[in-house]
């Protein structure tokens, strides 16, 4: 028997994060853990074909 604990949203961070942990009820041992970034903006794609001098201005807003 295992218990799944999900923490979503994780607070006090810049951005969006979800953490899922599976705990074995008998032993209390964590058998699985996942960390999910819940936000995708595609900065790499936005940077395509731009004036390279603009790159620091834009990617500093990540």
């Amino acid at each position: 028997m295992a218990t799944t604990i999900t923490i979503d949203p994780v607070n006090r961070i810049e951005g969006h994060l979800k953490v899922t942990v599976v705990v074995d009820s008998g032993t209390g041992i964590v058998s699985d853990a996942k960390c999910t970034g819940n936000l995708f903006r595609g900065f790499e794609l936005i940077m395509n074909r731009r004036d390279p001098r603009d790159a620091p201005v834009i990617v500093q807003r990540i």
């Binding site: 218990t3 799944t4 604990i5 999900t6 923490i7 979503d8 949203p9 994780v10 607070n11 006090r12 961070i13 810049e14 951005g15 969006h16 979800k18 819940n38 936000l39 995708f40 903006r41 595609g42 794609l45 936005i46 940077m47 395509n48 074909r49 731009r50 004036d51 001098r53 603009d54 201005v57 834009i58 807003r61 990540i62």
Partner: protein, 540 residues
């Protein structure tokens, strides 16, 4: 809950008055409502954001510090970056302990009135492998409707559509206009709440209500006007066109609104036509809702001897000063007493509470009316009527706090706006070059001597001739102005040049700003940021 002290408040006021040019009546209004302990729940939803707006807000010291704002002025019920609790589920069931989501759900389901703050753009696209629009940013089930994988798109739409949502503040250029996540090449179809770039129509609503032109600010007075020029305010799509007249002494010194018009869904263009050397430019300022008051509620004292037969007791609501008309009410009589009055028409145009009289037979019934401005967002329905944009990448903390304070201090009314629904009195009233002293602009000094004393460079005979640092009749920039290096200050409405950033608690002004450190303005408060303002280091 601890309140801000009167002494603290007066300190803020004196600083604010000097730095912002607030009028005495505005300050008086703020002072009055501060005394009345205005308070409101706030839910802060972060979408596709870098949290830079949050970080900027945390630097607030000017109107009030952030701890005072959060602890004393508003009830910040939910803000995942700042709050102590996280959201938690055990085996898919919401954990009943300290749970962040419960706070948001409580506001959504039970709050009497709350302000929704949106930070970050809202992705509207559907990723591969998903069937949910906006699934590029999930923020959890803030409404308590059981959808654990709620998106920012869904949550913001649900919160904003709630009747108890008094206002939607789009903090930052992303939430206002799409900003960086909506830049060319983005695959997630990121949008602002009610704008996508300069175009009305965002992820949630298509515009931000209707209004009237209440004043016009002169951006540049022009020169050489030999007669009073003709001022034309563009007509609304449907509604009454506003009119105005100019005052001139060679340059246009002021423009007065003659007819405020109505039905404007966006701040209209102002054109100034007349024989001149250089053309004057001006921008309209709009009140999102024309401020004519109407009857909001009637309380009644019963009296005796009134007929219980329906329609036999007559009620007349009369203006006491000739201003306003049209309010009507229907009485309900129980046991020969007037038990209640149901407002059937709130009327309009009242400037003071109208009087209520009852027809005979019967005696002793009296009623008291309360009027409320239509500017009060609680009189409005629909999301579009609630949205205010506070752009900037990030916005100055004073712009955010000033707008929130205005909403609190005016019994939840939205502040007057300049184009793109930006609050005109809280940061967005003028272009950077005009808003304050740019150290690189030659003609910002009151006199040539004054200028030479402060910036002793260049040829003194030539100083003062330059406008925007541009040599007359050429496209050559004078030494000093950063326009040629890509500075967008002359196209960007923001008051960084006057307010500056990173003030300490005692200073009215901040330490520096982008242009002050010779970096050039990137135009981050404009809806065209970052693409259409042009390349950051290229003259446009």
């Amino acid at each position: 809950m601890v309140r801000i002290t009167r002494r603290d408040f007066l300190k803020y006021c004196s600083v604010a008055a000097g730095a912002l040019g607030l009028s005495a009546s505005t300050l008086m209004k703020i002072e009055n409502v501060m005394a009345a302990n205005a308070n409101v729940d706030v839910v802060w939803i972060a979408g596709s954001a870098c949290t830079g707006c949050t970080m900027s807000l945390l630097n607030s010291v000017f109107y009030t510090t952030i701890d005072d704002l959060l602890l004393n002025r508003i009830d910040l019920k939910y803000m995942d970056t700042a709050m102590a609790t996280a959201g938690a589920y055990v085996d898919g069931v919401q954990w009943q302990g300290s749970n962040a989501l419960k706070a948001a759900q409580d506001v959504y389901n039970n709050s009497a009135g709350f302000v929704l703050v949106v930070e970050g753009a809202i992705p509207t696209g559907t990723p591969d492998g998903s069937t949910t629009a906006g699934d590029y940013c999930r923020i959890g089930d803030l409404t308590g409707d059981g959808s654990e994988t709620d998106t920012v798109l869904g949550n913001v739409a649900k919160f904003a559509a709630k009747d108890t949502c008094l206002a939607v503040l789009c903090v930052g250029t992303c939430a206002s206009f799409g900003g960086i996540p909506a830049a060319r090449g983005n695959v997630v179809s990121a949008k602002g709440v009610c704008y996508t770039g300069t175009a009305q129509g965002g992820a949630i609503v298509s515009n931000s209500g209707t209004g009237s032109v209440t004043r016009i600010t002169v951006d540049s007075g022009g020169s050489g006007y030999t007669a009073v020029p003709l001022v034309t305010i563009a007509p609304p799509v449907s509604g009454v066109q506003a009119t105005a007249t100019a005052r001139t002494t060679g340059t246009v010194t002021a423009i007065a609104v003659v007819n405020q018009g109505s039905g404007y869904t966006a701040v209209p263009d102002v054109t100034i036509l007349g024989v001149c050397k250089t053309v004057a430019t001006a921008t309209a300022v709009m009140d999102v809702f024309p401020n004519t008051d109407r009857v909001a509620s009637i309380s009644v004292i019963g009296g005796s001897g009134y007929s219980t037969v329906s329609g036999e007791v007559t009620v007349v609501i009369d203006s006491v000063n000739g201003q306003g008309k049209g309010a009507t009410a229907t009485p309900t009589v129980t046991g020969n007493e007037v038990a209640s009055l149901i407002l059937t028409n709130p009327g309009s145009g009242y400037t003071s509470a109208p009087a209520v009289t009852f027809g005979v037979p019967g005696a002793g019934a009296a009623a008291h009316t309360i009027i409320q401005g239509q500017n009060d967002v609680r009189n409005k329905t629909g999301i579009a009527a609630k949205v205010i944009n506070i752009p900037g990448c990030p916005p100055h903390p004073d712009w955010i706090v000033g707008t929130i304070a205005h909403i609190l201090d005016t019994n939840v009314t939205l502040p007057p706006v300049t184009n793109y629904f930006r609050p005109v009195d809280y940061g967005y009233g003028a272009y950077q070059c005009n808003a304050g002293p740019c150290p690189w602009r030659y003609n910002n000094s009151t006199t040539r001597d004054d200028h030479n004393a402060r910036y002793p460079v260049g040829n003194s005979k030539e100083l003062g001739k330059y406008k925007w640092g541009l040599k007359p009749g050429t496209d050559v920039y004078a030494e000093g102005c950063l326009g040629i290096l890509g500075c967008k200050g002359r196209k960007t409405k923001a008051d960084c040049s006057r307010r500056r950033w990173n003030a300490d608690a005692e200073a009215a002004y901040g330490v520096n700003w982008c242009v002050g450190s010779r970096a050039g303005c990137h135009g981050c408060t404009e809806p065209s940021f970052p693409d259409k303002v042009g390349k950051f280091f290229t003259f446009v």
